[in-house]
């Protein structure tokens, strides 16, 4: 950030640039959140409508216990890792498109 004024001033401050920027970022966030929410909110539904299936034993655990107590954490790590990678790439692309 050596120069306070960016090179292509008008493009950055235009309405269309802001809209594009927000839409792209929101799309990525919503895609990640949707993946997460489907599993998070789907699990109670599975417990509710398929209690017998979810009570099936897996090495002592029940399916519902194994998913919530153990497997859920790595699942969230994967989503956040993908999000961070994508959003850093997205920002790099945005900077490049403006500076060109």
């Amino acid at each position: 950030m050596s120069s306070p004024t960016p090179p292509d001033n008008d493009q950055i401050h235009s309405e269309s640039f802001l809209r594009l920027l927000m839409r792209r970022q929101l799309k990525l966030s919503i895609a990640c959140a949707a993946t997460f929410l489907v599993v998070l909110l789907g699990l109670p539904l599975l417990n509710y409508f398929a209690p017998a299936l979810m009570a099936t034993r897996v090495a002592g655990f029940t399916w519902s216990w194994l998913i919530l107590g153990v497997l859920f954490f790595p699942f969230v790590w994967i989503i956040s890792w993908l999000f961070i990678r994508r959003s850093i790439a997205l920002e790099a692309a945005e900077v490049k498109s403006v500076k060109r």
Binding site: T5, L41, G60, W77, I88, E91, V98
Partner: protein
């Protein structure tokens, strides 16, 4: 004289020494880093120069409170499967923070929510409202920390009354904060994360090696439809009468989420009970589960003291990597407390009959003593380690909360509202007085909450944050049509409704207490009859997030539309600063523009 000596004779020297070392090390590190940093702004600068690993440990250290360390294990033991939502959502709430709020807020350059509230809406009034909520949520969050302190000290010194522990720990930390201030706390918090992780995992591994692994311990419980447990355990102690049955405990929609319906059924004539339970139990507990999930996930994204810590690393890429590591560190930690609960159910069912500080909340501390019977000193050392972890848990969270609340009172209330012209020396004195004031109130509140479950109280603090700060941050970042009036109305209504609902249920629970608290809150006893007649209302007050969060969002949208003319004039620039990558240097440009404007 005798009364004083008697408890000391029963104290395990290992437990005492490990706890003392943690306390002394915490205070010592606080002073040491306070001396090595010179100006008040060192706090943030230190954050900037801290590596990702240290910073992530520090954030995790502050986040993992007494609720995480003791409360979750106790709740899994007492309520079973449903309590697993707590650790999962505590950890996963960070994802929401990362996806929607973290990036934009960091670009905006706001370090506290009141800062953001004022900057985004150009409104000093809104800062005041936001400060009030920092205090509300903070006090709700300190109560369970105080209960953790009281429980742990009563455990270490058998016979010590609960309130003595609360006063003692509260006084020590208040002193620490008022003398050392907020400087250099990063190091202490990071150190405490690793104590906590070690203290929760080491005893679990030893316990599992001796008494059977996680899956075996869980397999000793019978699922509906099974006649014998698949992994029956010889060591399993018979359950006491107050303990929930295997099938209800291990399955979803168990005692935690069906409490209100069970109470309602008990109030009905015997012949109607079965039909009532069949009709209402499962749908209502599904509703409870969803409300709990919303409160915890959205609440994490709106906890003021977490957000403050989150921004100690303002460099773009590093901040994102820090978040990733925080989620991993927290997630690893949260696998362990439920294991304590599961093992505790099999080996220490007598805890089910205890209440308050003697109930399931102390399972984490009590369980390693089983090893003492078998292995002597090794068991005592493990007990000592868990006690040290518990100390680290409520000390780190309480000092973090105290610092952020004191900062709000001294900086925002005194420095900005009461005496804007005060000198730095006066402000420093105000900081110290505020610390003592807030510490005192927190101790007082902590003395009242012995009969309440640690984890339940934290859940309510999350619900209040979810209904006030989360909608504010989410909408302010992503919708440019928000006005100050819309934001304030939504935040106040949602937050106050959640606060009122949570307070009502707490008062009615306290009214049923057999101890002195029952007498204080006896006026609220009729409320329990009302709850029995209206279980749905009870659930909605117990877990207000499911209606309070949408209510808050709805009000924000409607009022903002009605006052659309008051959208800040430079909103496009604000949005650009919130969303454009930092490499473009827009923040610098924006701030220059603002100072130039102020000079006119």
């Amino acid at each position: 004289m005798h009364l004083l000596l008697l408890p000391l004779a029963a104290v395990d020297p290992w437990i005492l020494s490990f706890s003392l070392v943690t306390v002394v090390a915490t205070i010592g590190m606080g002073f040491w880093s306070a001396r090595s940093s010179k100006t008040a702004s060192d706090f943030f600068v230190a954050g900037r120069s801290v590596s990702v690993g240290w910073n992530a440990s520090a954030i995790s250290g502050e986040y993992l409170s007494a609720a995480s360390f003791m409360g979750i294990a106790g709740m899994v033991m007492s309520s079973g499967y449903d309590a697993l939502w707590y650790p999962v959502c505590y950890a996963c709430g960070y994802l929401f923070l990362l996806l929607f709020i973290a990036g934009p807020l960091r670009r905006f350059g706001a370090y506290t929510i009141p800062d953001f509230a004022e900057g985004r809406y150009d409104s000093p009034l809104f800062r005041k409202i936001a400060v009030c909520f920092v205090l509300f949520i903070g006090f709700f969050y300190t109560m369970p920390q105080m209960k953790g302190a009281g429980t742990t000290l009563a455990y270490i010194f058998p016979g010590l009354p609960y309130w003595v522990g609360v006063v003692l720990v509260g006084a020590v930390i208040t002193l620490n904060v008022s003398l050392g201030g907020m400087k250099g706390i990063t190091l202490v918090q990071a150190f405490q994360y690793w104590i906590k992780l070690f203290a929760i995992s080491a005893p679990v591994f030893v316990l599992m090696a001796v008494f059977g692994f996680y899956n075996g311990q869980l397999g000793a419980n019978v699922v509906t439809g099974e006649t014998t447990a698949p992994m029956a355990m010889a060591a399993r102690a018979p359950l006491v009468e107050k303990a929930p049955k295997d099938t209800a405990w291990i399955a979803p929609f168990g005692p935690l989420t069906t409490k209100a319906v069970a109470a309602a059924a008990a109030a009905l004539p015997a012949d109607q009970r079965a039909a009532f339970l069949a009709d209402h139990q499962r749908p209502y507990s599904l509703l409870y589960t969803y409300s709990l999930i919303i409160a915890l996930v959205c609440g994490t994204a709106g906890l003021p003291h977490i957000l403050v810590r989150f921004y100690t690393n303002p460099d773009g890429g590093a901040a994102k990597r820090t978040t990733m590591w925080v989620m991993i560190l927290i997630g690893v930690f949260y696998v362990f407390p439920p294991i304590f609960g599961v093992i505790g159910r099999n080996l220490m069912p007598e805890l089910y009959s205890g209440v308050g500080a003697k109930g399931t909340d102390k399972v984490v501390l009590e369980l390693p003593t089983l090893l003492a019977a078998k292995f002597g000193v090794l068991g005592s050392i493990l007990s000592g380690i868990t006690c040290a972890g518990a100390f680290a848990a409520f000390m780190s969270t309480f000092s973090g909360l105290l610092v952020s609340m004191t900062g709000a009172l001294a900086h925002d209330v005194y420095g900005r509202m009461l005496r804007p012209a005060s000198t730095p020396a006066e402000r420093l004195r105000a900081f110290k007085i505020s610390a003592v004031l807030i510490g005192g109130v927190a101790v007082l509140l902590g003395c009242f909450v012995e009969p309440l479950e640690i984890n339940f109280m934290v859940g309510q603090a999350f619900a209040i944050a979810a209904a006030s700060y989360f909608p504010l941050l989410f909408m302010s970042v992503w919708w440019r049509g928000m006005t100050m009036k819309g934001a304030a109305t939504g935040m106040l209504t949602g937050g106050l409704c959640a606060l009122g609902a949570a307070a009502l249920t707490n008062f009615s629970t306290l009214a049923t207490d057999k101890g002195p608290m029952g007498k204080v809150f006896v006026g609220f006893a009729p409320l329990n009859t009302f709850w029995a007649a209206h279980p749905l209302l009870r659930i909605l007050c117990d877990q207000p997030a499911i209606w309070a969060v949408p209510l808050s969002l709805f009000l924000m949208i409607v009022i903002s539309k009605a006052t659309a003319a008051q959208v800040p004039a430079d909103i496009r620039m604000k949005m650009l600063v919130l969303h454009a990558p930092e490499e473009l240097g827009l923040k610098q440009e924006y701030i220059q523009e603002h100072t130039a404007g102020a000079g006119h």
